[in-house]
């Protein structure tokens, strides 16, 4: 555990000539919209020859810290890696603990968790639309619109959970709070408004000839490559694989609700944009059904603070794809090991794959279309 002093010489990452015609360029590690990450690219003129992602700038050892904290105090720091998608990181961690402890969440609790999770999916996709896709393709209007509408959802999330971004809403046993008074009404009015906005989003962004020209056919990930690389979430579904944990292994209230899994065959950046757009429509429909069907009754069961010996694997479909958590208990109040396998880390492999023989100017488009969240990948 010694740290040698940081090199004083300029690191090899500064621009230098390697072969007569190529140039190594370090992109980052400034904050490119979602966290610090660096990509080393080798360019030949205007073309990227190869790319090597250098991640870890925001690694904080979540898995190690989790071994020092008890099951409940792990929740706030384990959802921290992705502040725009906190409910899913939280839920994925809670599921295996409940499995170990044998705790079953009451139906109303499941519905509340599902409503919160789908609201979070909309917020996260709006963030992706505004920053990762809007700003990176130079479209400032969608940046303002997306962020503005996301804030309306954030206000309701605050009303439900007490926090704007990192909610720590789900504990083993169920959510912490019941729906507050007047929440259903406000949420359904917001959904009415949001559905109208989605039409406008389509007109200003997705049907915009400039966006289509910049994103269509760029960064094509074919179906067999997507399967081989093991990418996940919207990136996988944009390549034509109909895979969604909400259907494959339903958790929460998804069993009772009807929804489609939007998929596209093209596998380019534009279809990755569209998958998220279509998913927001599905989320609206899921929340509407859940608000209509939500049963009465208790929201949570009391869960023990200790988990018995054993291991459990739980997974949820987060905004960036499947998150799998493995929790190993050892009869104490702290987990023996927590392993996190999340969408951003699994989609990282697509970045060097797609950044080959493309224009340098296409890099932000491809990066944005993956909706890569460095902090989530680094943990």
């Amino acid at each position: 555990m010694t740290a040698k002093p940081i090199q004083t010489e300029p690191p090899v990452t500064a621009t230098r000539i390697t072969e007569p015609s190529t140039l190594d360029v370090s992109v980052g590690p400034q904050h490119p919209g979602s966290g610090h990450c660096r990509i080393l690219i080798r360019v030949d003129g205007d073309y990227i020859v190869s790319a090597d992602p250098d991640i870890g700038y925001v690694h904080r050892g979540c898995e190690k810290i989790a071994e020092y904290r008890n099951y409940v105090s792990n929740i706030p720091h384990l959802e921290r890696p992705n502040i725009s998608d906190a409910i899913h990181l939280n839920w994925g961690y809670v599921l295996p603990i409940e499995e170990l402890q044998g705790v079953v969440v009451p139906p109303r609790g499941k519905y509340i968790s599902t409503i919160a999770a789908e609201m979070n999916r909309i917020m996260s996709h709006l963030y992706g639309l505004a920053i990762m896709q809007g700003v990176f393709s130079g479209h400032t209007t969608i940046f303002m619109w997306g962020f503005g509408d996301r804030d309306l959802f954030i206000e309701l999330a605050e009303m439900l959970t007490g926090a704007r971004m990192t909610y720590s809403f789900l504990a083993p046993g169920g959510p912490r709070r019941d729906l507050p008074f007047g929440f259903e009404d406000r949420l359904s009015r917001l959904l009415d408004y949001f559905e109208k906005r989605l039409v406008e989003y389509d007109r200003i962004f997705f049907s915009n000839p400039l966006i289509v020209a910049r994103a269509k056919g760029v960064g094509v990930l074919k179906r067999e490559d997507a399967v081989k690389l093991g990418v996940v979430g919207p990136v996988l579904r944009a390549s034509g694989v109909k895979y969604d944990v909400r259907k494959a292994e339903p958790y929460g209230a998804y069993d009772d609700l009807e929804f489609e899994i939007p998929t596209f065959e093209e596998g380019d950046s534009y279809s990755r944009y569209l998958v998220r757009f279509e998913e927001m429509k599905q989320s609206v429909s899921i929340i509407r059904q859940a608000l209509r069907k939500i049963p009465k009754g208790p929201i949570a069961r009391k869960a023990p603070l200790i988990a018995p010996e054993g291991e459990a694997t739980g997974r949820v479909e987060s905004s960036r794809g499947e998150i799998t958590y493995v929790v190993m208990g050892d009869n104490s109040d702290k987990p023996y090991r927590v392993k996190i396998m999340n969408g951003s880390f699994r989609n990282l492999i697509a970045l060097p794959f797609l950044l080959r023989n493309v224009h340098v100017a296409d890099m932000p488009i491809i990066y944005g279309s993956l909706d890569y969240w460095p902090v989530e990948a680094d943990r």
């Binding site: 940081i6 081989k228 093991g230």
Partner: protein, 164 residues
């Protein structure tokens, strides 16, 4: 998890057991959708090849290490799933093997499951497990100037984080 039909899980276990009778030490169905296979570490590539080509498990969701200092072993787990066969979308097969704590070495499965690339790199860095045949086994997440044992081993303690 609703109505449970265990036959697909049992099928996976039985196929692996009958194909590799000496290699698979234990195969069990944990619950619906989860299968755990414990195997001898020298034959990881044969198992991976069989699972990919014959059973349709085409990607790795993650590779995890677990340190057991009292048993002097590091357990490596591969979480394997399928995209190409919709009827086994819900299965996660956990391949488990034990490595000695001194010099943990195992063959890399990247040539079979390319999706394991970054996961093996992470496990190499965090647990010191050497994946032989990995095309690019470098550090990934820790600082360039971090010199020390792999940080996820249990004997690396961080007292400032409290008691463990």
């Amino acid at each position: 998890m609703g109505q449970v039909n265990l036959s697909r899980e049992e099928l996976v276990v039985n196929q692996l057991k009958s194909r590799f009778p000496d290699v698979v030490k234990e195969g069990k169905v944990d619950r619906a959708h989860r299968v755990t296979i414990t195997f001898e570490k020298d034959h990881v590539k044969e198992i991976a090849q069989f699972m990919r080509d014959d059973q349709g498990f085409d990607h790795v969701k993650g590779v995890a290490g677990v340190d057991f200092p009292t048993h002097k072993k590091i357990e490596v787990m591969y979480f394997v799933g399928s995209y190409s066969k919709p009827d086994i979308h819900d299965l996660i097969v956990i391949l488990k093997t034990d490595l000695p704590r001194e010099n943990p070495t195992i063959a890399s499965v990247v040539s079979i499951w390319q999706s394991a690339h970054f996961h093996e790199r992470e496990t190499f860095e965090m647990f010191g497990v050497k994946f032989e045949g990995h095309p690019d086994l470098r550090k990934l997440l820790t600082l360039d100037n971090w010199e020390g044992p792999p940080p996820m081993l249990k004997d690396i303690k961080f007292p400032e984080m409290g008691q463990r």
